[in-house]
């Protein structure tokens, strides 16, 4: 229906963006507009559903349909949207509090059911909107207004959580990596089922630098490994390091390529392997590069389709009703 292909800016709304200047959310918004333009679907057929938090303001800044709901419940609202009209493209946006704390249950079930939603967790490891309390993804020792002596709780690793929930598409990206993030988002969109993407997002005001070098564009190559299906897992600014898979321990090990006896020992990324995905999910800084990209992608029946629902009407009418009565 479009004579002119839509451009990224066609996906922006007229609303004034209210995030703090320099917030990582801006970068994600920018990447998202690019992705939506690339996908090319009309904004009228796209819905963004969000919970509450800084991240959850996202729908207001796009020209698509949008629903800013209540804290933690966006995945459930989005499931309802899909039940009513499976033809819509539905994206769910929330923060680490939204997805992992108050809404953890809904995240679990949306993933487990494999509802065709693109779930984007903006992880800044802090409660931004409520002024900086520690969150379920904050590392132990996080000093915040509610943990002046440092937090003692073990944080949740969202990728591991998602895999544990039975998610069939799990990926990770970072706000500032503007060539990488759109690729991941497009893959998430292409997947039919629940696509879970953890986006490491910097909260400049309450948790600046929480992800260290990961989303520092110049240092990121050292701190992350970019996954590509079928490709060797190499990282480092000089592409001089690699991950090896130890079959005995079922764990990855990091090594300098120069020191390897055999280059074939470098692990090849297999995004269809759950065992490998679980091992990848365990890799954390500072001992390991953090895996970015599609960590796991497997085929599975999508929930709404499996239930047999399509369109908005099952041709249920007065005659059928009369037969029932």
């Amino acid at each position: 229906m479009n004579e002119m292909p839509l451009k990224p800016n066609d996906f922006g709304s007229d609303q004034e963006v209210r995030w703090c200047p320099g917030c990582g959310d801006y970068a994600i918004l920018k990447a998202m507009k690019t992705v939506l333009a690339d996908i090319g679907r009309s904004p009228d057929e796209i819905v963004f559903v969000a919970g509450i938090g800084c991240a959850a303001r996202f729908p207001y800044y796009l020209s698509t349909y949008g629903f800013h709901t209540i804290h933690g419940r966006a995945a459930a609202v989005a499931t309802g949207v899909k039940l009513a009209n499976p033809d819509l493209d539905v994206w769910v946006v929330g923060g680490d509090g939204d997805f992992m704390s108050i809404g953890g249950n809904h995240t679990l079930h949306a993933l487990r059911r494999n509802v065709d939603l693109n779930l984007l967790l903006f992880n800044n490891a802090i409660y931004g909107l409520t002024k900086g309390q520690y969150s379920p993804t904050s590392p132990i020792g996080t000093r915040s207004p509610s943990t002046p002596g440092g937090s003692v709780e073990q944080p949740v690793n969202p990728v591991r959580f998602a895999l544990g929930c039975g998610a069939k598409f799990v990926a990770r990206a970072a706000d500032t990596l503007q060539t990488h993030l759109p690729v991941v988002l497009k893959r998430a969109h292409a997947n039919k089922g629940a696509s879970f993407v953890e986006i490491l997002q910097n909260c400049l005001v309450y948790n600046d630098g929480a992800f260290g070098a990961i989303n520092d564009r110049s240092e990121s190559q050292e701190a992350t490994v970019r996954l590509e299906h079928g490709q060797p897992m190499i990282f480092g600014k000089e592409n001089d390091k690699a991950l090896l898979f130890n079959k005995r321990t079922c764990r990855f090990e990091a090594a300098k390529i120069a020191g390897l006896e055999n280059r074939d020992d470098i692990a090849i990324h297999d995004e269809t392997s759950l065992e490998r995905a679980l091992a990848l999910a365990a890799l954390e800084q500072p001992d390991f590069p953090v895996p970015l990209g599609v960590i796991y992608a497997a085929e599975a029946p999508e929930f709404i389709e499996a239930r047999g629902f399509s369109g908005t009407w099952s041709e249920w009418d007065r005659e059928k009703l009369k037969a029932l009565l």
Partner: protein, 625 residues
Amino acid sequence: MSETALAAERQGTDKAQPLVVRFAGDSGDGIQLAGYEFAKSTADARSDFMTFPDFPAEIRAPTGTLFGVSAFQIQFGADEVLTPGDRADVLVAFNPAALATNLQNLKPGGVLIVDETHFDARGLKKAKLDVNPLEDRTLDGYQVITVDVEKRTLEALKSLELGRKQAVRAKNFWVLGLVYWMFARPLGKTQDWLNVKFKKTPAVARANIMAMKAGHAYGETLEISAVPDLTAPRVAKHKGASRIISGARAMALGLAAVAALGRRDIVFCSYPITPASTLLHALARLEGGVRTFQAEDEIAAATAAIGASFAGSLGVTASSGPGLSLKTEALGLGVAVELPLIVIDVQRGGPSTGMPTKPEQSDLTMAIHGRHGEAPLPVLAPATPDDCFWIMIEAARIAIETMSPVIVLTDAYLANAASDWEIPDIDNVPDIDRPRVKPDGEGEFRPFARDPLTLARPWVAPGTPGHAHRIGGLEKAKGSGHISYDPANHAEMTRARAEKISRIADRLPAIEMEDGVQDGDILIIGWGSTHGSIAQAVKELNAEGARVSHVHLRHLWPLPRGLEALIRCFPRAVTAELNTGQLSSILRSEYLAPVTCISQVNGQPFYVSDLKAEITRRLETCVHE
């Protein structure tokens, strides 16, 4: 009972009077099944009737225990039957525990059929009975028929070579056979039903049928003077063959009707909870029109339903008290974003888990007022199982016309109670139309523009070209719907949301009394499932010469126009409620009128006799109590 009294009774019960029959036994005894079959045979016999299953929350409590007793009561008669009856004319007790807990539900002089099998030391102990009531004077004053049901069932099924345990399971049909004989009912339909129900296990069907026939044949052998004549047919002349329907089933059909009338699937989201689950089960079996979703909790159920409404379907969610509490925040969102939504609350005894299978009307205040912020929404309550069908259609119309969540309050009694049902003439029911988007003024679409009459905003679903917009729980600027923290705008929006709900009352039919005269001595104000008991009590009192009037509210919020004036016509206005006076306090605060309350909170529907006594007492008090 003396010989002469028995003989008098043998003349037969007064044919003009309705009869109440109650079955009571272990929850594993198949009491509900037997009761329901008896109700179906009552429908076939063309009597008017109403049933009430009264079961425990425990699924299979240890056999023989007091807390494991399940009961099923039915009242039927030639005249209009409005309630399942107070105390029973006939009680069938399957074990000592059933007798111990249900004897209080039998009228003095009533007929008691008892399975004597388990009245041994063990059975009596489980029922916490020190002495055997069959042997002391406990049952004096009743017409008692004791039968060794288990032994006779086993005997009847001897030829089938079933295990003892399996054979004994047919005892409910043995008893049903005997009861059918007492009421001169044919066995054929139940036999057919058993053959269908146990199509895959014909041996089970056969066992039950043989047991039923044996019970029936046993009746023939009874000393005729020992059995009261209950055979009068009690045909309701105004009726054709009718269908039996429970409130839950009627609600399910009502929602199926909403889908057909709206020509769009509705999305029903729920998390299992007694006694609301039956609705989910009934809808899940439908072949179209309703998309059911068993959510992970009630919060997800309510929010998914809101999501469905945002996407253009009508979202519906159902639960009971604890679940409604969980849905509260979502309801606030529904009010804020002004989307249609139906919320069904099948009330049960509270607080907390309370009495999950027992009715109470104690969520009224929560339904009307129980949300943070100013969050008014309409509240409706069906009065009868039949009304459960119509109230769904009405709730859908109000929700869509007003763009608001609507709460429908039913209860454990109404959901499970069944009566005969006149199949609705759906051709005469108008379509449920969506409000047209009225483009107001030039330029872009304004999602929070309002219809000048109803104050509803337009309902435009994603997928509609050229109308993409954003909504949310933050306060919205009037018209545009953009985020706004402007003080004057918030005041205006708050008042608009309230006014929108208030105006529903303008479109409701004028308030009508159920019974009585405008200058009566007392006005009884009821709502919801108590309709039958109140109507019957008022009818009987007026027949006895009293001047009692009855108004029954289907609309609890906004309150119907004219109610205040009506209340002021009477020297006494009294609500009758299964709570501690929630409607009466709302009426007092709304009208500054001295409305008092007849309150009952024992987890049971009102007895007509109790209501009559209480109304009579109120009539004797001076006006300014």
